[in-house]
């Protein structure tokens, strides 16, 4: 009797499994900042949640906490394990997945992969990159216009070309407003731990405030939370990144350089579901609304009408190609 029950149970489980395997199951792998970094990874999470809300079903997810897990997570999601069926599409959030994905994409030629912030050249990989320098240019302008000391700061996460790209755009934007503006720059570290060290971020921000900066742009994942907090504690201004972070400290966050990772994730899932998914490289900038600056009820008092007019004019000029922003990662 017991044996029969067990057998029936097994069969039911087996049926359930095969039924599930046919449904569409996307998967997302978050990077080390963590799903709720209120920034880059959280944007991806919001995109996935939006897809889930609109189309129902679920998505598989994984948050890596160390380097070794990158390959494991990708393989496990692509292959499926236990109750999780093989994923139809695996979305990797972050440049750091690049080298791993080059190998794993070959191992699973029938699985669709998406990588954000890096380019992987394979027939089953779609790479989404953003022109962050364009959005950073705009917030650099905003910083220079809001600064009373003509000194502004930048706190980066891990010292990689991608973050240098944010910095260069920011610096050019600030100097576009005022030639003599001084831009301080600090990087938190040279390992992925630099994405999740708000203590260090806060100390870096304080050191820049002490040198006279009064607006600091944080492009550092969860480390940026420490920068925003330090700005709030010192009564200065900060600029958020990736997600709209204006609501974190209303009145202290000048604006946020939003990078629509949520749209990228949502579109990838949607196109994979309706069959329009294509491999290749997508570059999203101001023109595609892939990047921009955030304006909402939390910062409307900080961004004056005059500032807004100048920012919108510059935005149009960048789209039209009249202003060229340097992309340090361009070859």
């Amino acid at each position: 009797m017991i044996r029969k029950l067990a057998l029936a149970g097994l069969m039911a489980a087996g049926l359930g499994f095969s039924a599930q395997a046919q449904t569409f199951t996307p998967a997302v792998i978050f990077d080390m900042g963590g799903k709720f970094d209120k920034s880059f990874n959280e944007a991806a999470y919001n995109g996935a949640e939006r897809f889930k809300k609109e189309f129902g079903g679920t998505y598989a997810e994984f948050e890596v906490t160390n380097e070794a897990q990158r390959t494991q997570a990708m393989q496990r999601l692509a292959r499926g394990a236990g109750a999780t069926p093989p994923a139809s599409i695996v979305i990797c959030i972050g440049f750091a997945f690049g080298s791993t994905l080059e190998q794993v994409a070959k191992e699973f030629p029938r699985t669709k992969f998406v990588i954000v912030d890096s380019v992987v050249d394979a027939p089953n990989v779609s790479s989404v990159v953003f022109r962050e320098h364009e959005g950073s240019f705009l917030v650099g302008m905003a910083a220079a216009m809001a600064s009373k000391t003509a000194k502004v700061g930048f706190v980066g996460g891990m010292d990689i070309p991608l973050i240098r790209k944010f910095h260069k755009g920011y610096e050019e934007g600030a100097q576009h407003v005022n030639k003599s503006v001084q831009v301080f720059m600090n990087m938190t570290g040279t390992t992925p731990a630099a994405w999740n060290d708000p203590t260090k971020g806060g100390e870096l921000a304080r050191s820049q405030f002490e040198r006279g900066a009064d607006v600091i742009y944080a492009a550092a994942g969860a480390t940026g939370l420490g920068v925003l907090q330090a700005a709030k504690d010192s009564g200065k201004l900060s600029i958020g990144v990736d997600s709209n972070q204006n609501h974190l400290h209303p009145g202290s966050v000048l604006t946020s350089m939003v990078k629509r990772v949520d749209v990228a994730v949502y579109n990838a899932m949607k196109s994979a579901k309706d069959g329009s998914w294509k491999a290749g490289v997508q570059s999203l900038g101001l023109k595609e609304d892939g990047v921009g600056y955030a304006l909402d009820a939390n910062n409307e008092k900080l961004i004056t009408a005059d500032m807004k007019a100048k920012l919108d004019a510059a935005k149009a000029d960048i789209i039209a190609g009249k202003i060229k922003v340097t992309d340090v990662t361009a070859k």
Binding site: G34, N186, A193, E203, R206
Partner: protein, 324 residues
């Protein structure tokens, strides 16, 4: 000249902020190790306390309740260490390491279960944190040259836990060197047989030392999550427990030298942050990687040359077995 002075003032202030958790944790280690218990679990206790403080402060909105919870959590962890290594004569290093690993895993899991924010606690508002305290006359003397800025910016304007750490140093010194409890504590770390022969319980003394260590680690953890930062984040201690242990060895298990070692580490960190991207006269901009390695280079340099011989309490690390 003015700039250089301002830089010194801000660096001194940053040094105090960074040194506070190191000082508290190192003093906790001092109690434990002076009683003969190696306390490699400082890191785990601090992390557990940081989590308890942030979680409690997030739920109740009170930084003080958070501090109490931190002390309680850290003391419980300390007692687990004691139970394994005093009552059951376990290996103290293994027990301490186990504590570190357990806490590093447990805190994010609990945070995830309670707050559903992927192993973090919610960000704390101003009232749930320890805010800066203006000391009396700070504004009044700020204009006085040299002494004014030193008092107003370096000494005044920190949160209460920084001042608690400052008071803890002479207090610990007093307890260890001027009380009968301190005398017994030092004796039990050097020669437990003698203490036992005198009719004083070795394990009781060692448990008491671990309770004190737990309390101090609790304050250190609460500082990290509710004063210096605004919430708990996975692995937020980032090796500060081990650094505190190193400072304790530098300081030869004595309160004031240990304080100086902690300040030195913190100063190296403050310098490191401020040297990044700043041209040094005559040298130019130093590469970031070299600057970030500075605290570690300094550590090796000092360990090799300056500290001299550092002798641990003789019975440290050895479980006490009564011979019959």
């Amino acid at each position: 000249m003015e700039d250089a002075f301002l830089m010194i003032v801000t660096m001194a202030s940053a040094t105090l902020r960074v040194a506070t958790p190191l000082v508290l944790a190192a003093l906790a280690g001092l109690f434990a190790e002076r009683s003969g218990i190696v306390d490699i679990g400082l890191e785990g206790k601090m992390l557990g306390a940081a989590f308890a403080a942030a979680a409690t402060a997030a739920v109740t909105g009170s930084a003080w309740l958070g501090l109490l919870a931190a002390i309680a959590a850290s003391t419980v962890l300390s007692m687990i260490h004691g139970f394994a290594s005093i009552t059951h004569n376990g290996n103290q290093v293994v027990s301490g390491m186990a504590l570190n690993i357990m806490v590093a895993g447990l805190c994010p899991v609990l945070a995830q279960a309670w707050f559903r924010q992927s192993g973090q606690t919610p960000m704390l508002g101003q009232q749930a944190r320890f805010g800066p305290i203006e000391l009396p006359f700070a504004a009044a003397v700020a204009k006085v040259p040299v002494i004014g800025p030193l008092y107003a910016q370096v000494i005044s304007g920190h949160n209460i836990l920084v001042y608690i750490a400052a008071i803890a140093v002479p207090l610990v010194g007093f307890i260890v060197y001027r009380t009968s409890f301190g005398l017994r504590l030092r004796a039990v770390g050097e020669n437990p047989e003698a203490v036992d022969t005198a009719g004083v319980s070795v394990s009781r003394l060692r448990y008491q030392a671990l309770i004190l260590a737990g309390i101090l680690c609790g304050v250190a953890g609460a500082y990290l999550s509710t004063a210096h930062n605004a919430g708990f984040i996975r692995d937020m201690t980032a090796g500060k427990g081990y650094l505190a242990l190193a400072a304790l060895i530098f300081g030869k298990w004595k309160p004031v030298p240990t304080l100086l070692a902690c300040l030195l580490f913190a100063f190296a960190d403050a310098v490191q942050i401020r040297l990044q991207g700043v041209p040094v006269p005559g040298i130019g901009v130093i590469p970031v990687q070299l600057i970030q390695a500075l605290p570690y280079i300094l550590t090796v340099f000092l360990l090799a040359g300056f500290v001299g011989k550092s002798i641990a309490p003789r019975a440290s690390g050895i479980p006490y077995l009564k011979e019959r």
